[in-house]
Chain length 199, copies 2
């Protein structure tokens, strides 16, 4: 019983992840209430991002030029590469302000069940970057999941073979800061115990 | 450090209600991953809704023609009008499949503090519809809030004066179905008690 344009907008909004039917309806009504300028700014931003964003030719992060902002930044250390699964992982790590090297975005994690093989990820491209000889450390920051761990092991093996002088590291696993032992799952707690440090 | 088009999309998405910075980021990455066709379908739906949707000339519900779908539907009872605050309330009531009459959308609720006076709502228009003589019942379905109740009383008073033969009703207040007495606030519980029915 809704006017088709409203129904169409609700349907399109409902395709976004985590947006159910009711939220989509609420967002649609919000868009209906805002000024045309504001609504069009959102529509334009969606179109623009699809038209202008591509993958960085060096690290495969999102970019609006051939190279991403980080690869263009001369102050970033080229001897350290942090390997992540997706572009949003770059944002998460950048937020910590703890990493001053470069990135390499794989575009996913190895998962034979889902048909994701090494050729489907930017792994060969990572190896070629390391072949250049400038890299001294590769921080493998794939997710601490089954597929992320498998990907980390595959990359570590490949690097050991091709560039034995390069240090390969992995992010520490353990208790989240501010977390509570009571609520930690046993795998995380086991990792935290195994990785305990002297005080 | 994000490419400006991505940042712009995150900013625009973050203006939507209930969408924080992180959710906006997640939605933006989803849009980046989808096909251009799908992303443009969303952008087009936003533009189209702003261009084509207006208020129904009879009931002020959303419409893409001079009259909304419900006002165009000959099978809907013209003798019963359900008065609601906003167009989304129409959707909520339609979902129950319990109402076969017509609607009247006020466009808000009376709130002198926020400067919403009777002239700012479609109250005079409601009275004119009732003046036609065809209406026998007005169901006042404004929200069970202070402003919604004030609006309901104002409308009931006005109708009693202008059209004493018209029955004015209000939605029942009480415990939500499936709810638990333990979690009901005291006002709701008080209403439920006051409105108790013989079994």
């Amino acid at each position: 019983m809704q006017a088709p344009p409203v129904q169409r907008l609700v349907t399109e909004l409902g395709k976004l992840p985590g947006i159910g039917q009711r939220t989509a309806q609420r967002l649609a009504f919000h868009i209906l209430r805002t000024s045309p300028e504001e609504a069009n700014a959102l529509a334009d931003a969606i179109r623009e991002v699809k038209e202008r964003i591509r993958l960085c030719e060096v690290c495969f992060n999102l970019a609006d030029e051939p190279r991403c902002r980080i690869c263009q930044d001369e102050r970033r250390d080229t001897a350290t590469i942090c390997v992540v699964e997706e572009p949003n992982d770059v944002i998460s790590i950048e937020r910590t302000h703890e990493f001053r090297g470069r990135y390499h975005v794989l575009g996913g994690a190895l998962s034979p069940i889902d048909g994701v093989d090494p050729e489907d990820l930017k792994i060969a491209e990572l190896f070629r970057r390391v072949d250049g000889g400038e890299v001294r450390e590769v921080v493998v920051a794939t997710n601490p999941t089954t597929t992320g761990e498998a990907t980390a092991l595959f990359i570590a093996d490949g690097l050991r073979e091709r560039a034995p002088s390069v240090t390969v590291t992995r992010l520490a696993s353990g208790l989240p800061v501010g977390g509570d032992l009571e609520y930690a799952d046993e795998v995380t707690l086991g990792r935290a115990l195994a990785g305990r440090r002297a005080l």
